[in-house]
């Protein structure tokens, strides 16, 4: 069962993406988290470009370029500015300890893989084996949003989830139409800015970015 080299490379990059998702899950420092997010974007861009090269889908080159521009440069830069302004360089706190989170993560990966297995058996595409990995990284980003206590890592988790969704779209259908992708990219960018404004408001209100304080707002 020999696969072409590009397919192998895409598989390798997919594995790299999954690895970064786990690294983000286990990371304690925000700065490293942002760096990992940028790396995830880079891996995503390279794999998109590879898929574009091997299938001849020109619009995928655009999405790869867009990914580099937005997710490797702009958003990490914005996040850097944000944590500088907010002066939040504390270590990230987690709700569950890290080895336990990792074990839950492995469970999620197994779930995602078994979910994707029947789909990839029917598909005959270059990227069919990466769908499971894409779904696993979406679920892992979900997990990261759940177990993190502070707002900034949660937002990074959200952005990483978008990366996973993008990868899933590329591996399942060779990418969405360009218009949709442009729209999503714009949404993510605007979302980041809005989150930034939110951070300032949350901090002004509670003197902290711990989102548990928001429970106080609830009226019984």
């Amino acid at each position: 069962m020999e696969q072409p080299l590009t397919s192998q490379l895409v598989n390798l990059l997919a594995a790299f993406l999954l690895l970064i998702a786990f690294a983000m899950l286990s990371q304690r420092r925000i700065l490293t988290l942002i760096k990992l997010f940028a790396w995830q974007g880079a891996a995503l861009a390279v794999s998109t470009a590879l898929v574009a090269y091997s299938t001849g889908q020109a619009h995928l080159y655009f999405s790869a370029a867009l990914t580099v521009l937005l997710k490797v440069m702009l958003i990490p830069w914005v996040l850097h500015r944000l944590i500088d302004r907010l002066d939040v360089r504390w270590d990230v706190e987690t709700l569950i300890n890290i080895p336990a989170t990792m074990l839950i993560g492995i469970g999620l990966v197994i779930f995602a893989f078994s979910l994707a297995a029947p789909i990839s058996e029917m598909a005959s595409m270059l990227t069919r084996s990466t769908l499971g990995i894409a779904m696993a990284s979406i679920l892992l980003s979900f997990l990261m949003m759940i177990v993190r206590r502070k707002a900034v890592p949660q937002v990074i988790g959200f952005l990483a989830m978008e990366n996973g969704l993008f990868f899933a779209a590329t591996s399942a259908t060779y990418g969405m139409p360009l218009v949709v992708e442009l729209g999503v990219a714009l949404d993510v960018l605007v979302g980041t800015f809005i989150f930034g404004i939110f951070f300032f408001h949350i901090r002004e209100q509670f003197d902290s970015l711990d989102i548990r304080h928001m429970e106080k707002l609830k009226e019984d």
Binding site: M1, E2, Q3, L5, Q8, L9, N11, L12, A14, A15, F16, L18, L19, F22, S26, I98, P99, M102, L103, G105, I106, V109, I110, F113, A116, A117, S120, E121, S129, G132, I133
Partner: protein, 316 residues
């Protein structure tokens, strides 16, 4: 079924590993000294140290049991057995069917149990402390090691190390993401199991941090020499397992004398590189707090499991 040349190969390999292991240790120490801007000790230093230790009189605690005296020899025997099973120079050794990878991990575990028992035998506080820490590291490292080996076993469809190596050495070039995961996991296990820097510092006797050194604190003279020798063989065996799994090219088949020089050369080059890499890692990394060791090893386990899962995903 006895083939004389095969057995000669087996004996050659076993003797070679035992004799060359301290040299690898010396090489790692030398590289580390260079990297840290110290004047390097001779590469033969481990041999001198052992020769010196063999000429001394052993001092043994009054309440030590026979287990304490026996353990160095058991350790040495276990490591030598492991070195006989791992295809270092050649595959298809007559001794190899005696044990597959699971038994190999078992041999290492046997050595660990005995060294922990011996450490607790005399009843000093350091011995007990070292033994407890060693068992903590061991029980976390072992599943990660097994998972790594299973990944390679899945790819080649056998748990026999020789078969695995033959399959991996003679395949067409292909990128296996699962093997990449397994290689990183294996490296982490190697560092932990051989008491190397992120987990344990081999060159310190500071009571708060030592693990392996705390266990062998009561040993002296020939017993200490044999233990040090066994430790060197263990490092050699782990490195050759790593080489056999992840960069197996150039290994000879048993009885094939003409391929032997190439196998020797390839092995020496790979080991020199691996030793230098180990020294580099030890220079770059800082020792982890003991309580972070479970996290380090659970990461190794995670990587190994991911490797296995990725294999299923890409080959289903």
């Amino acid at each position: 079924m006895s083939h004389f040349p095969d057995i000669a190969f087996q004996i050659l390999q076993s003797v070679f590993v035992v004799l060359a292991a301290p040299l690898l240790m010396g090489w790692v120490n030398q590289c580390r000294a260079w990297l840290q801007n110290r004047s390097a000790p001779s590469i033969w230093l481990p041999y001198y140290t052992m020769a010196k230790l063999f000429h001394k009189n052993a001092v043994i605690a009054r309440n030590a049991s026979p287990l304490f005296r026996l353990t160095p020899y058991i350790l040495f025997g276990c490591m030598w057995l492991a070195a006989g099973i791992v295809p270092v120079l050649a595959t298809d050794l007559p001794f190899a069917p005696a044990a597959d990878i699971i038994a190999l991990v078992g041999v290492f575990a046997l050595a660990r149990v005995f060294s922990a028992l011996a450490a607790m035998d005399v009843g000093t506080s350091f011995g007990g402390l070292g033994a407890r820490r060693e068992m903590l590291i061991g029980f976390l490292a072992e599943p990660a090691m097994l998972m790594t080996l299973f990944t390679a076993a899945f790819i080649s469809g056998s748990t026999q190390l020789t078969t695995i190596v033959e399959t991996l050495a003679h395949r067409e070039f292909a990128i296996y993401p699962s093997l990449a995961f397994a290689a990183v996991a294996f490296l982490m296990v190697l560092l932990a199991e051989n008491a190397r820097i992120p987990i344990d510092n081999p060159s310190t006797h500071l009571e708060l941090t030592m693990i392996h050194e705390a266990m062998i604190l009561e040993y002296s003279a020939r017993h200490l020499a044999i233990i040090e020798w066994a430790v060197a063989i263990k490092l050699f065996a782990y490195m050759t397992i790593g080489i056999a799994l992840f960069v197996p090219w150039g290994i000879a088949a048993a009885g094939e004398w003409s391929a032997l020089p190439l196998a020797f050369g390839a092995l020496a080059a790979k080991l020199a590189l691996a030793g230098a890499g180990l020294a580099l890692l030890e220079t770059l990394l800082a020792k982890l707090r003991l309580f972070l060791a479970p996290e380090f090893l659970s990461t190794a386990f995670l990587l190994a499991v991911l490797g296995m899962l990725t294999y299923f995903l890409t080959h289903s």
